[in-house]
Homo-oligomer: 235 residues x 4
């Protein structure tokens, strides 16, 4: 019997959703999940297409050491980024990285995605931040780890809560999104892509557009996520 | 036997069309219908996905009091907006609210959608108006009701007829559309989305573009909707 | 046995392609064909959706008088435009009118579509012209006929050959395209839509862009359409 | 038994992918492959639609002389371009030419596609170059051959390596892409289309955007293509 079969199944399924929802073409994306009690991270193998992916292909790694516990192939080349985020963002249970079109456009443009409406505010409690560009030293040594380092630095410097802003765009690169579970990370990745697309087009209609008032941001984020949330069905 | 089964079926089907036509991703939209003789409003439950929705899930409410008549789940969180519109726009039999992409873009940009062509004029007798932004007070207390209040205010202030302009974009938020039936509301929501997309691209080709002449607007709206309408087959 | 069954079948099929290819949503488009020997025009009935359309629904009209020869429903409300074009553009055997997105955008923007590349030049021997806006008088009396009148006027004034430029965008309205057969009209409508989309995006990359040199236009148009055409297989 | 049946199968399949992936509408694209040991080029016949294409329709030509070895139809009208590229770019095993939307947009705009991010850098080691416009003389005589001549000239003048930059946009026309095999050429054509689309939208978010730093370009290109590549699974 497979180790951690439930985690593998969930991570496999969310990786397949990356292809099915069009978030990534070719193999431009990967998803992972963590079992914090067991100290195990499950992640997509590198360069495998989504359709042929099976739970048995998912690679298991130690959250602490990063060493491989099980799996035949190489883990995603972005694994050190995922591990760094799990170690520093403790509420995160699943992470998705894709080169989804509009998220990547804002990343390439080196611009944060402002909160222009309630669609954004329903899932992200403020602008989606942009990291700084990595230095030559950071790219040449431990590039993928340093991608995680600048994300954590970005949230620390701006005093942002990764539980409230579940995503980021990395300068010159592409977005990362996360959530309490791999499924929630996928949802946030889909929302990030759509609000990135809405933000570009909103600026085209009104180039001087400003973010929505703070009280409207509060209302929409908190009616879905606060203590007194009233959206959806009681659980 | 279910109460108001015909109304439930129709409202259920139109909610499913929101997902099928791509007007909304995830659960970003809801449709309702009213039986004015019975004083009953039927609306989507909150946070349920479109594919699994069944007529039995549709929530029934009193048009007068807003109290639940039948249904297990919570009604859509936007229910107070729907109720307010039914109470003030008497010709309306169905309402759709979605975060459809281009309608939301104009809402976020805080701009009315000008009538740039006959595609628009065939369904909307003039520009699709933009509401004002809600105040902090209006957002903090009875937010969803006040969304309806500013829509009704917008039509009253500009002396617009909701029977002739079956939709609106709400500042910082998204569009609402309506019609004599839920099916007609869906059609108007689809038209609003497409003319919003056409209007953005038309301005990109010609940034100084003005609305079409009033006589062309009259011709197209009235050949489909006036007393002497001659589009389609006689009924 | 149905009269003119071959013409009906062909016109029915091309109307269905309008929906299937996405050229038009709802019922925003119609196609017709002519049998010049018989003096008969076949056209879509008004307001019928594409999926349910059958050859028996196609309406037959006299090319000379415009009177109905056969068919139960009203012909498309745009019938007088089609008839006028058949009477003045003698090489035309099929006509398509749709509110396809990018063609309509250029029509609304009141701009001709310049020839920015060989994709355009392969099918249209120069810019796709824009008509003038109809006057109030022309809109109020015989509007659909006058839509045909300004198209014919546009080609006459600019000395354009409808056999070489098989389409036009009508100011404030939408495109018409045509060809030797209904199938060829459909192909030209699809090309018009795609080159309209390419032209907008090309101007966004290079706002000062000019049309391609005349010798490149000649080469591409004539290698497919001239006496010495060498594209495709010999017939 | 068919000659070169494996090459035919592969070239047939990749041509079908042009239609299936949406890289080209109608018959706006063609793919070829070469067997350098046998000195044989296999290419799509001219004007045949992708769905009905069979391996037996693929035309075989001599790499040296360009003369037809086998096949009933005319080869693609772009054959002289393909042959010229195979003769001058020795690492190339497959070539694709399409009028894919965003690649064609940059070609029409007469602009190279800058490297704005890692998506681009993963497959193209720098900007995707733009050829110069052909002269009237070059268009009037041996046009398709001269299209190949200006591509080769463009790479020579800028000292670019076609093994590292597997594609180009041709001024006023459309893109060509290539690779070690027809399948790899298809992948590069898909990447070219997506990075062309990303580049346009990135400039819309940030009109002053510059290419990514050289050290980031090096890192991404070389982690997939250099001697020490570590992306994907070991072969």
């Amino acid at each position: 019997m497979m180790q951690h079969s439930e985690l593998r199944e969930s991570v496999c399924q969310i990786n397949k959703e990356i292809g099915r929802t069009g978030l990534a073409m070719l193999t431009w994306g990967n998803a992972s999940g963590v079992d914090r009690d067991a100290g195990v991270v499950a992640i997509k193998p590198s360069g495998i297409d989504y359709e042929s992916l099976q739970p048995s292909n998912i690679v298991l790694l130690s959250l602490d050491s990063g060493e491989k516990i099980d799996g035949e192939g190489r883990p995603s080349s972005d694994t050190p980024t995922h591990l760094h985020l799990y170690r520093h963002f403790e509420s995160v249970g699943g992470i998705i990285h894709t080169h989804s079109h509009y998220g990547t456009v804002w990343a390439q443009a080196c611009r944060k995605i402002p909160c222009f409406g309630t669609t954004h505010a329903d899932s992200f409690y403020g602008a989606i931040p942009i990291t700084r560009m990595l230095t030559e030293e950071e790219v040449d040594h431990d590039y993928e780890l340093n991608t995680g380092v600048v994300i954590v630095e970005c949230f620390a410097d701006q005093d942002l809560n990764p539980g409230e802003i579940p995503g980021v765009v990395c300068a010159g690169h592409a977005p990362f999104a996360w959530g309490a579970t791999p499924a929630k990370a996928l949802e946030n990745a889909l929302v990030l892509e759509e609000v990135a697309r809405m933000a570009l087009h909103s600026l085209q209609v009104n180039p001087g557009l400003q973010a929505i008032p703070g009280y409207l941001l509060d209302k929409h984020y908190l009616r879905k996520h606060g203590e007194n949330a009233y959206y959806g069905q009681p659980e």
